[in-house]
């Protein structure tokens, strides 16, 4: 039951009771919510509230009514009279019999807060009075009220610049705001810092680098009144400015270049985002534009182009969404997605808005005006977007070239027609006759297996040295464990690297050396098709031959021609160095022979002269006839290719009788499959189907008519496809389906392809590309359909993801091509080994009818024609010479393409409404919410462009406040709001709220120019103060007036950041390479940095590049930088803190990098010229500190040189290196005063 106490509430809130030092009721209530209620809740409510299991002393402290009424010992609070209030007495611990809380004395500050609150009349907001024993009353989430009551939601004020007594001090309004507060507190600013101190401060703050001696000199020699402005403008114009400020932003977006977790897989192209930041800060990109580009750079109609290279800059900013950690093989992919999105929203909301929106993932925010619906409204933007690696295409060269190529192709295709009147039948009959004739004349082939048996594995591994566990202890006789049955074994035993621990184990067999005596080595091989599961031949220590299986556990005959190595010593090595799927090799029957292991059906080649003569006499094109003959001779025996069909037919026409049945069976299977599956997409139209998206130039629809392509291997384009072969093999592109719900066990794609990959992306999980564990069959990469169309299926683990949301992605990364015919869903597998159209045509027909059938089909069926074309069996003169010329011209443009350059970005996906996950559980779906902005900031619905616009809308008071506060934080050591990432009720209050709003409005008034605000701050008198307190201020007075320097009565002393220390050392030693941009320099690895995913170590000095260009591998972060508080990149971190630990001293004393730089510095100076020791000492000291050494310091440094020289026994560079080392260790170097 809840009693309301309207009268009391009216009195409390509206009765104008706020007294004491509070300006108004709102301020007093804010104070209550910030300072009083949380203490009551935390320290008292377990015993003294309606929530308590047992209310102690009959006292409740959860409503003013209870406080006034009191408990067993009487009223707790007497409003307006702190001294008469028992609450204060108990808290102050002065009465031995009344000390609360019982186990912990509250700090004097907290007690003082209570006093203030009581003196002000103990204001308490209107709310129901909780009654003990009633635990049913849920706390009502009142967004509107929270919005009304918390300072940071209120609109930006345009504060008046306060009047101050010390009129000569302020340079700008900033100083007036600061001075007004100092004067009110009866304080005064510190003396101005001396020129050198100020110069060093501003150099490090703006560029992260120390001033050079030349820069010091120039500044000191400048006597103009604008000398400081000159320095600041110079620094703001320096490219080092962007490097320094980009790094601050990188802390917020948890920038890293690997995904962390077990294998620390790479985040490719992350550095393009880093370079974007550097350029953006250097160009002083207006901050509102900067924010819009981050949120929706991919959707901008008129994106910003890079000034020099003319690529789309805006889209690069969206990369920040995807720089998070990521794990492989999550057992719950939806939970994994929810965690990712929480991180993405955390980064977005803290970085731009200073809000902890992710706190509302499980419940309405505990304190702030942010609901769970707000949180899930934002996840909708992520559900409706897709991570994509897109071609940057500087200058649009690739786009323009593609357009020219398409135009040329269109013109070539206008001339394209199906060839009528070409006698393919004649090519067929002449070639078969020639081959048959050659076969009749050829001697019987030698038995390829009759030579010297090297090993048939029937007698153990005696001939081999076994390493690792993969091959077991001895040859095996069949499949091992989960291995599929093995076909094609000769004899009983064979070598099988599945024998150890299946695909996971590694190992090798190395033969004893032998001499190669025969021209061929024949063998049977099967297993994985990796270079790391192979049989290798080593001659003279070099690998000269290698063979692998074809991802089948059927042993197939293979042969190496070894004539060139005859007489040489060699070794055979069987390797299995592969852990993933098909991580094994099987080998049997190694025989040295005089003949290659010809497969059944192979026939002798017809000699070239005979072919040429026949071509001339029959009026055929010699080259084409040659390919017809070779096709038959080299036929092979797998039965489905034209060559094998014809070669078997040539050997024995009866042997292909079964082919007709096979074709009929296949057709029936195909019919069954089509009937039992659902068509998802056929690409039969001229336009991209709804919801599908393309990026890059590679993919295009092939339309409704056949035509030419630019891929030489299959130069005919078939209608009704989407193909990346049309423009040849050098363009890249991504084709993405709309998001759909998986409702079948398998997804089948009929395609032809080579290279690239295709995948099903479930719940935005994109890591299967590295490791398919738990996602087997959902990704296919580096496949090669050998020029044929076939069904490739997403199967295996896909069925586990029924009911999940997913999209399909087809990626052509440049080399290779993908042509997608259609996509079907079914629960059954798709037919394999589709008969070749050529075989399908001939097999059911009597031989005498072949020629007319072939001629008829080739002039009407583009599929058959294309298949003949892909095999090189079509004479060129069947097409218009003009068309061929135009196509060739288009193809030649391929060679003019610049190398690809990719970036990680966001792309538009399928718009979706998110469902609220009740209590954060993805298993418990709540209401559906459309994508929209936070309700407390208007809640406008729309796409990401709307979200971007709302984020920087002038009515939104947070974005501008948050960014100016960040600038202040980086320049002044602490933000006006110290909790820089949290402007919510759990954050801290602004020390100078009016100044904060003045800075925010001033930023907007100056077109969001960050350089403007930075300039204003660093040219202020506030910033120019010394770090020593004004000597006129009494220390004892100061201890109460401004003990924490909240009012900025002096500049704080600040330690240099990790980057500034490292960059400063490089700059001073002369080793700094000022180059901008580019791929990162690998992290230098120490002995202490081991673990999975370790990369090769980079150079000790990071190649002299600035720290911002050093790689950031999540699992191998630089220990030196981490010691100095570089944050680990997992969440937004606007305030690094500055720890002070012995490990920092150890690093500077003993880290080889620091010592090495000292040596380089000394060596350089000694080589540079003749200086007196004293002059060199002065020069070094000034380089390191920007100050001149006083005589005492000079003497100490000189004495040190002498001492070191005494110990070394001679004066040489070592003593100077030691001196340099000391200068890097001194606090004057490490701190900014």
């Amino acid at each position: 039951m809840i009693r309301s106490s309207t009268l009391l509430a009216l009195f409390l809130v509206f009765g104008g009771t706020a007294r004491g030092e509070f300006a108004d009721t709102a301020a007093a209530l804010t104070f209550f919510e910030e300072k009083i209620r949380p203490v009551l809740a935390e320290k008292c409510y377990s015993c003294h509230s309606a929530e308590a299991d047992k209310v102690k002393g009959s006292l409740q402290l959860d409503h003013l009514e209870h406080l006034l009424a009191g408990g067993d010992t009487g009223a707790s609070v007497v409003a307006g009279d702190a001294e008469a209030s028992l609450l204060v007495e108990a808290m102050s611990y002065e009465n031995k019999d009344l000390q609360m809380p019982p186990k912990e004395r509250l700090s004097p500050e907290v007690v003082e807060d209570f006093r203030k609150w009581i003196v002000a009349g103990a204001p308490w907001p209107e709310e129901p009075v909780p009654v003990a024993g009633d635990h049913s009353a849920p706390e009502v989430f009142d967004l509107e009220k929270r919005h009304r009551e918390h300072w940071s939601w209120r609109p930006l004020a345009v504060p008046a610049i306060p009047a101050v007594a010390g009129k000569e001090w302020p340079r700008s309004p900033i100083d007036s705001f600061i001075l007004a507060r100092l004067e009110a507190a009866k304080l005064r600013p510190a003396e101005p810092a001396d020129d050198r101190t100020w110069l060093r401060r501003v150099h490090f703050d703006l560029t992260g680098l120390p001033p050079t001696l030349e820069e010091i000199r120039r500044f000191l020699d400048d006597s103009s009144p604008e000398r400081r402005a000159t320095v600041v403008d110079g620094l703001l114009a320096s490219s080092h400015y962007g490097e320094k400020w980009a790094r601050h932003w990188m802390d917020l977006v948890r920038y890293a270049e690997t995904y962390g977790h077990e294998f620390d897989y790479p985040i490719d192209y992350a550095y393009e985002y880093r370079d974007y930041l550097i350029r953006a800060f250097n160009a002083d990109l207006p901050y509102d534009q900067f924010a819009r580009e981050h949120i929706a750079g991919d959707l901008m109609r008129e994106p910003r182009l890079n000034a020099e290279e003319k690529f789309n800059e805006s889209v690069l900013a969206t990369g920040f969404w995807y720089l998070s950690e990521a794990t492989h093989a999550p057992t719950d992919v939806l939970a994994n997605e929810a965690d990712h999105m929480s991180n993405q929203i955390d980064v977005y909301s803290k970085a731009f808005l200073g809000l902890t929106v992710s706190c509302a993932r499980c419940h309405d925010h505990k304190f702030d005006a942010i609901s769970t619906a707000d949180y899930y409204a934002l996840t909708g933007y992520l559900h409706g977007s897709a991570r994509t690696e897109r071609s940057m295409d500087p200058g649009g060269t690739r786009r323009d070239t593609a357009a020219r190529q398409r135009a040329l192709l269109t013109s070539a295709n206008a001339e394209f027609g199906m060839p009528g009147g070409v006698d393919f039948g004649k090519y067929l009959s002449v070639s078969t006759a020639l081959v048959r004739e050659a076969f009749a004349k050829s001697p019987a082939p030698a038995d390829p297996w009759a030579g010297i048996v090297f090993d048939d594995f029937e007698g153990g591994y005696g001939k081999w040295t076994v390493s690792g566990e993969a091959f077991g202890k001895a040859p095996v006789t069949g499949a091992i464990g989960a291995q599929k049955p093995i076909a094609g074994i000769s004899g009983k035993h064979f070598a099988n690297s599945f024998a150890g621990k299946g695909d996971r184990s590694k190992g090798s067999l190395r033969s004893q050396p032998f001499v190669i005596e025969k021209p061929y080595l024949n063998f049977h091989i099967g297993g994985g098709s990796h270079a790391t599961t192979a049989l290798e031949l080593h001659v003279g220590g070099k690998k000269v031959r290698t063979a692998s299986g074809k991802n089948v556990d059927t042993l197939a005959a293979a042969s190496w021609e070894l004539s060139e190595f005859r007489g040489q010593s060699a070794e055979l090595v069987l390797v299995d160095d592969h852990e993933g799927g098909w991580g094994h090799v099987i080998v049997d029957r190694l025989v040295f022979s005089d003949a290659p292991a010809m497969t059944e059906g192979s026939l002798p080649l017809v000699d070239r002269e005979t072919i040429a003569a026949a071509a001339t006499s029959q009026g055929l094109e010699a080259g084409v006839l040659e390919r017809w003959c070779d096709l038959i001779s080299k036929g092979g025996n797998e039965g489905t290719s034209p060559g094998s069909f014809l070669s078997r037919w040539t050997l024995d026409p009866r042997s292909v009788k079964s082919a007709a049945k096979a074709v009929a069976d296949a057709a029936a299977r195909d019919d069954d499959f089509l009937a039992g599956s659902t068509l998802y997409e056929a690409f039969d139209k001229d336009v991209l189907p709804d919801g599908w998206a393309l990026s890059g130039e590679a993919f295009s629809l092939t339309g409704t008519k056949p035509g030419f392509t630019l891929t030489e291997a299959h130069f005919l384009s078939l209608p009704g496809m989407i193909s990346s072969a049309t423009l040849g093999e050098k363009h890249s592109g991504v084709l993405r389906s709309p998001t759909f719900t998986i409702d079948s066990d398998q997804i089948h794609v009929r395609l032809r392809g080579q290279g690239g990959y295709m995948r099903v992306v479930m719940d935005n999980y994109h890591m299967a590309v590295f490791q398919p564990l738990l996602f087997r069959g959902t990704i296919q990469k580096d496949f090669d359909t050998a020029g044929r169309f076939q069904w490739k299926s997403f199967d295996a683990d896909l069925k586990k993801y029924r009911g999940h949301r997913a999209y399909l992605e087809f990626v052509d990364e440049g080399a290779g091509s993908l042509e997608v015919d259609e996509i079907r869903f079914s629960d059954a597998p798709a037919p394999q080994a589709e008969p070749h159209p050529f075989v399908a045509l001939l097999a059911p027909v009597e031989e005498k009818d072949w020629a007319p059938a072939l001629n008829a089909a080739a002039s009407s069926d583009p599929v058959l024609l294309a298949s003949l074309g892909a095999a090189g069996l079509v004479p060129g003169d069947v097409f218009s010479p003009a068309a061929l010329k135009t196509a060739a011209e288009s193809r030649a443009l391929d060679d003019t393409l610049p190398p690809e350059r990719f970036a990680l970005t966001m792309a538009e996906g399928t718009p979706e409404n998110a469902r609220v996950y009740v209590r954060g559980s993805h298993r418990s779906l709540g209401e559906e919410v459309p994508p929209r902005f936070l309700e407390a900031l208007g809640g406008k619905a729309g796409d990401r462009l709307t979200l971007a616009a709302e984020t920087v809308a002038p009515e939104n008071p947070l974005t501008s406040r948050v960014i100016v506060n960040r600038l202040w934080h980086h320049l002044m050591g602490e933000g006006l709001v110290p909790s820089v990432d949290d402007f919510g009720p759990m954050g801290q209050l602004p020390s100078h709220p009016e100044l904060l709003d003045w800075l925010a409005t001033d930023l907007i008034a100056h077109a969001w120019s960050l350089k403007h605000t930075i300039r204003e701050i660093v040219l202020s008198q506030t910033y120019a103060q010394a770090s020593v307190v004004n000597p006129d201020i009494d220390k004892n007075f100061l201890a109460t007036a401004d003990p924490t320097n909240l009012l900025l009565h002096h500049m704080p002393v600040r330690r240099l950041s990790a980057e500034a220390i490292r960059d400063g050392i490089l700059a001073v030693s002369g080793s700094l390479d000022p180059a901008l941009y580019g791929p990162s320099v690998a992290t230098h690895r120490t002995d202490f940095m081991s673990g999975r995913g370790a990369r090769a170590s980079g150079p000790l000095d990071g190649a002299g590049r600035r720290t911002v260009y050093g790689a950031i591998y999540r699992n191998f972060l630089s220990p030196f930088l981490m010691t100095f508080d570089m944050p680990n990149p997992f969440g937004p971190k606007g305030n690094r803190g500055a720890s002070n630990v012995p490990a920092q001293a150890l690093a500077l004393m003993n880290d080889p990098f620091v010592i090495d730089q000292g040596k380089k510095w000394a060596d350089r100076l000694l080589a540079e010229g003749q200086l007196t020791d004293e002059a060199r000492i002065a020069l070094m000291y000034e380089s390191a500190t920007a100050h001149l050494p006083d005589p005492a310091i000079t003497a100490a440094l000189a004495a040190f040189l002498k001492e070191q020289s005494t110990t070394y026994g001679t004066t040489d560079a070592r003593a100077w290196s030691d001196l340099a080392h000391v200068l890097f260790n001194q606090k004057e170097f490490l701190y900014l005063r």
Partner: protein
Amino acid sequence: MHCHQFHPRQLNRRDMLRRCAMGFGGVAMQALLHDEATASVGISDPLAPKAPHFPAKARNVIFLYMDGGPSQVDTFDYKPLLEKYHGRDPREVIGELAPTQFDNVGKVLKSQWAFKQRGESGAWVSDLFPHLADPEVIDEIAFVKSMTSKFSEHTSANYFLHTGSGLQGRPSMGAWFGYGLGTMNRNLPGFVVLNGGLIPPGGLDCFGSGFLPAAYQGSIFLPREQPIANIKPQESDPRLQTNKLKLIAELDRATYAASGYDPQIEGAIQNYETAFRMQTSVPDLMDLRGEPDSVKKLYGLETDFENTKTFGLQCLLARRLVERGVRFIELTCPTGNGDRWDQHGNLFEGHSRNCKTVDQPIAALIKDLKRTGLLESTLVVWAGEFGRTPFAQGGDGRDHNPFGFTVWMAGGGVKGGVSVGETDEWGYRAVQDRFEMYDLHATMLHLLGVEHTRSTFRFSGRDMRLTDVHGHVIKQIVA
């Protein structure tokens, strides 16, 4: 209520000095210091010892991390039913199975080791742990046979075990102990990882300080002469370094004055003194010349199995670190035992090697801690990130099993000779007194006098703790 905390603006030492209007000075400083051990560091020192929330016996933790996930049904959780149904399809006899990591479910697989009851407590221990089975040791141990994890994949499970969260970048429990209690020896780090050769999947972030200050992160000690980075002076003659430090101190005095006696600079100056001393204290730790041969033998330093020697040395160093007041010591496994404890295949050989590596050293550690009287104040914890399935993966392995597995504790405030919780008759799922990692963490903190709900740190807009919003002390094993 986890969000309901209030932190007034923290006063650091500098603020405190100003507020007290003391300025710098030896006398003033001494007055602020807790004790001699921290005399040179001052009150802003994050590692200064802090009083526990309530009195407790344990002061130090040795965490024996069994990387990869040992099999509960082959070590301490005896399940005779597996023998009866050996070779049967588990889906037929156990019923529906949860998805496994490698999705390759084989037959029910009985343990290949004999189980016996040991000691007065009658604890079941298989023949894999003959030394641990010694009554003098086994009766010190409290088994929790119903531990569970939320993750069946190594990395997330490791983060969960180490940090209470499956995500990367959270503070390790060793860091939380440092945050809650500080350390008792300022010449050594408060959280030391004695690395046997394997860094767990997930990397060094298993030992990180996350959002806590960097001072709390684990320092990796390698069992070798120079165990940590930058501990060895690079100068060829000690006088060269002493001269440098003297000069640095002299220069710093000037800076200190010019900074208006800034306490940060003072702290940094003092860090050089500590660092200088660490250059001695760390090699002293590694110098085993004073250890009697009998002790070295006890730990297995003289066996002929290299991995026992390595782990034995780690255990001996752990005792020496406890003696020196280091708060939290974690031991990781030596390499070369097959793939850690992660026997997806070849279970017999893999587990045999892993047990041979750790059995004698762990038994020796407990005996030695008893001998030196340190066991009372030292909590020893043995745990992997999950257990293994009672059925086979493929032919002769076991897959990950987060649904019920065994961890144990001994020493500091733990009731020896007890066992709590049970898995089902297959050793597959915890069915009685099911515990979570949060409970393990809550119990560890409790044994050192820290109330887990009160040890919080403000980050990301809320008060974070090792146990998140969960955790119950496993009271049955608290003495």
